[in-house]
């Protein structure tokens, strides 16, 4: 029974070791010298995270609302599936696509120049761009979860609002808002954390030091200035704040992923004005969502693939990325299974759930799985970096460990939110039977858990694979010509303005991620159906 605690304990020990490494290395002037520069960084980081969260939620609610009321149209499920893929789209790719549309030489400015002889300029570099990218990445993800809440509202309530002659606003306030409230808070707190620790978006679109987040500042302190002291100071501030945020929000952060959506058929049509409004919301957001991806495809097709595929660096980074994604997603699935198994051990009454300390253990296990939200990847990277500097070990061993750890930790919260409820259910359903028949160990796994979890496992594997494949975080500290992943290679290409090559690589990544995200879960699903 305690074997399952080894993994969470290791994770927590790792977090503590990391914190100690950071804390011991800094020179003790941490709290005495928070100068105006650091204060400014902190202020902007919080400011952009707040704005991004509010905007993402507004857009997410509007979109979910519109989709919930337009429940029958062709391609709806495809659209919803597409929006949910935003979770796995590499940030770098999204930013690349957004620049293609909204950049100074993007399609929007070109069209405007052609039609009205006016260019909107380079607004994308700075706060506007950061918000745009954050809304892109998070609003669609939020709308997916919110749609689920909207759709779980009983039809009877809608009938009631109709008979009471509620206005749209009243309907929203009295029926819909209470139904989505908890999701709104849980999604909101997750989005806030993700934006607070946002790295790639700010690195690419920040444009100037005035738009830096703490994460980017840590990266710059290490890579540009070799000012480890400053990096440590920033990392400890970042770590403390995000840890506090995670603890504060854990009360209302429940599931991160809502998988199933169903059609709620509302038996009457919405008034015409509302229909127009809802259709425009869906239309505008679809355009906003699809166009950057389309730009990647269009620009990407113009690339010289013969040239790209023969570049040694491309081949190297491609192989590295695929291997890392495979290994880290296997690790993620394994660890997530262990953690959720431990959690059900300590929550279910049929197991140890009624022990006095069960709740504490459960909370600890849950926290260990959500470490990534508390330890942003650059802080993690800095910790590894310091260990590497002090040790004699080879660079490649350290970078590999750092990258794998970061990738696994990043996927774990999402993996757990899918697997924990599923594991919980199988236990609830089959524990009594399995216990009475004495089905244990491997046999229980193959007979009870695996058939039931198969589809979720495929989904988690695909999710972790895509996360790892698209990650531009820790690699920014460790990346070099000898150690390169696809996102880092793409970042280098964008940096040296080899735009056509960059467009080609972006397209390769997009295809890779989307096909993995679509094909792998299907593969698992089909076999299940055949059984």
């Amino acid at each position: 029974m305690f074997a399952g605690l080894i993994v969470p304990l290791l994770l927590l020990a790792f977090a503590i070791a990391l914190f100690l490494t950071l804390y011991v290395t800094q020179d003790g002037s941490l709290f005495t010298s928070i100068d105006t520069h650091i204060y400014g960084l902190l202020k902007f980081t919080l400011y952009q995270a707040t704005l991004s969260t509010i905007l993402s939620l507004i857009v997410g609610v509007l979109l979910a609302w519109a989709l919930a009321h337009q429940s029958k149209f062709r391609g709806r499920s495809l659209l919803v599936a597409l929006f949910s893929s935003s979770l796995v789209l590499p940030t770098l790719i999204v930013v690349f696509g957004l620049i293609g549309i909204f950049g100074r030489n993007g399609y929007l400015n070109q069209a405007s120049l052609f039609l009205f002889d006016h260019s909107f300029g380079a607004y994308i570099y700075g706060l506007a761009g950061i918000l745009l990218a954050h809304v892109y990445l998070n609003a669609s993800f939020a709308s997916r979860a919110l749609l689920h809440s909207f759709e779980s509202i009983p039809k009877e309530k809608y009938k009631l609002t109709k008979s009471l002659n509620f206005s749209v606003l009243e309907r929203f306030l009295y029926v819909e808002y209470p139904a989505i409230k908890s999701t709104l808070f849980s999604i909101g707190s997750t989005i806030f954390l993700l934006c607070f620790t946002s790295f790639a978006v700010v690195l690419l679109l920040g444009g100037s030091p005035s738009y830096n987040t703490l994460e980017v500042a840590i990266y710059e302190a290490v890579r540009l200035d070799f000012d480890i002291g400053l990096a440590l100071k920033l990392a400890l501030i970042q770590l403390s704040i995000s840890a506090v945020l995670v603890v504060l929000s854990s009360g209302f952060r429940t599931g991160l992923a809502n998988l199933k959506t169903s059609y709620t058929l509302i038996p009457w049509k919405e008034p015409k004005i509302l229909r127009v409004l809802q259709w425009s919301i869906i239309g505008i957001f679809t355009l906003f969502f699809v166009l950057p991806l389309l730009v990647i495809v269009i620009d990407g097709l113009g690339a010289d693939f013969g040239h790209i595929f023969s570049e040694a660096l491309f081949i190297k980074s491609f192989i590295t990325s695929i291997s890392f994604a495979t290994v880290s997603s296997l690790f993620t699935v394994g660890i997530a299974l262990m953690l959720s198994n431990t959690r059900r051990n300590f929550t279910l009454q049929t197991r140890y759930g009624n022990r006095r300390w069960a709740r504490v253990v459960d909370a600890m296990v849950a926290f260990s799985g959500n470490l990534y939200l508390a330890i942003p990847s650059l802080v993690l990277g800095l910790g590894f970096f310091l260990m590497y500097q002090k040790s004699e070990g080879s660079e490649i061993v350290w970078s590999t460990t750092a990258l794998l750890t970061a990738n696994v930790l990043m996927s774990l919260p999402f993996a757990l939110s899918v697997l924990t409820p599923a594991m919980h259910k199988t236990a609830q359903r089959y524990d009594k039977l399995a216990f009475s028949l004495g089905i244990k160990g491997w046999r229980r796994w193959t007979m009870v858990e695996y058939p039931y979890l198969k589809a979720s496992l495929g989904y988690v594997f695909a999710l972790a694979f895509c996360f790892s494949l698209g990650d531009l975080g820790i690699i920014a500290l460790f990346g070099s010509d000898e150690f390169m992943t696809l996102p880092w290679y793409l970042y280098q290409l964008m940096g040296s303005y080899r735009t056509t090559d960059a467009a080609g690589v972006a397209l390769v990544m997009l295809i890779l991620v989307l096909s993995v995200f679509i094909i792998i879960p299907r593969a698992f699903q089909n076999k299940l159906d055949k059984n």
Partner: protein
């Protein structure tokens, strides 16, 4: 039989002896690029010496220094090439470099520079470069630069990673003194973006994203010679132009000390100096090199503004903080 054995022994010895050492040079990407000076330098140096020259290009020269600092003793670099005299002192303080033991008194430099560790290989002057066809009103001073219309945008480099960015910081400091911070606040709205290195900034400018880019008075020569285009120009500034003398040094950890020092000496040869003007688009540091005709059309600053490296080393941190605050909105 013994003769045959002896023969094979000798053969293997000679193979061992002829196995070429590799000299690794960390530099900035524009230097190591296929269109940069690296391939030509590699060719002629390898002709004279029994060595394989390997250039590793980083996004900026200070980035290359940071990489060496990150790698510490484990670095593969034998030589760091591409810092300038302003940052060289900071690099020297790391204790990672060894003296070059060369006589540099005969070099042809626009400003005196004598350092026992870093040695020059070319020089140029910083300037804002523009496209005549796109920019009609060209600023002729820092004052007019900051008073350009709102939609006028420039690209500059980060002074923490790029010697060009640092050069601009020092240029503005040497003109504005205590008021430099205030000047940066005025310039900030015109800064489109700040790049890590020169190539990224120049690429942005060529793509049409910005009206002007911080580059060199010698940059237009590239467009004249290679592309036959005369519309790319450097703006002459009334206040004068800050200079850049690019330098290189040998790593203490290098296993090929003698070879590395031979390379530094090679940088002062006529062969090397002949390559510089039309490959790195800068002035050579050796007398008697015939410059291409295009260089006659370039902006010719009368005097090079250049701060002493030791002075820069003292004020660099506070200057960067001043700049960061100027950039904050």
């Amino acid at each position: 039989m013994t003769k045959i054995l002896q023969f094979f022994l000798l053969l293997s010895l000679s193979v061992l002896a002829t196995e070429k050492p590799t000299l690794t040079i960390y530099t900035y990407d524009a230097f190591s690029a296929s269109w940069g000076p690296a391939p030509k330098i590699k060719k002629s140096f390898e002709k004279e010496h029994h060595v394989t020259l390997k250039f590793v290009g980083l996004s900026s020269s200070i980035g290359a220094l940071r990489k060496i600092q990150l790698e510490g003793k484990r670095t593969k670099a034998d030589i760091l090439l591409g810092l300038d005299t302003s940052i060289a002192e900071v690099a020297k303080k790391t204790g990672l470099f060894v003296p070059h033991e060369l006589n540099t008194s005969k070099l042809d430099l626009p400003a005196p520079y004598n350092d026992d560790t870093f040695t020059p290989f070319d020089y140029s002057y910083f300037a804002f470069v523009y496209d005549e066809d796109r920019l009609k009103t060209v600023p002729d001073s820092f004052e007019s630069l900051a008073s350009m219309p709102k939609d006028f945008k420039i690209v500059i480099q980060d002074p923490r990673s790029s010697t060009a960015g640092l050069g601009l910081l020092l240029w503005i400091k040497s003109i504005y003194g205590d008021k430099a911070g205030a000047y940066w606040k005025r310039l900030a709205p015109h800064i489109l973006t700040i790049t890590k290195g020169w190539s990224e900034a120049y690429g942005l400018f060529l793509k049409g994203e910005a009206d002007m880019v911080l580059s060199y008075t010698t940059s237009p020569a590239y467009h004249i010679v290679e592309e036959n285009k005369t519309n790319i120009k450097a703006a002459k500034f009334k206040e004068g132009h800050y200079g850049q003398i690019e330098v290189a040094a040998v790593l203490k950890s290098s296993k090929h000390q003698a070879l590395a020092k031979q390379f530094l000496a090679f940088m002062h040869s006529k062969t090397f100096a002949d390559i510089i003007p039309t490959a790195n688009w800068a002035y050579p540091v050796v007398k008697g090199v015939k410059l291409p005709k295009a260089f006659e059309t370039l902006v010719q600053p009368k005097k090079m503004i250049l701060m002493d490296g030791k002075e820069v080393q003292k004020i660099r941190k506070s200057l960067i903080n001043e700049w960061l605050e100027g950039m904050a909105r």
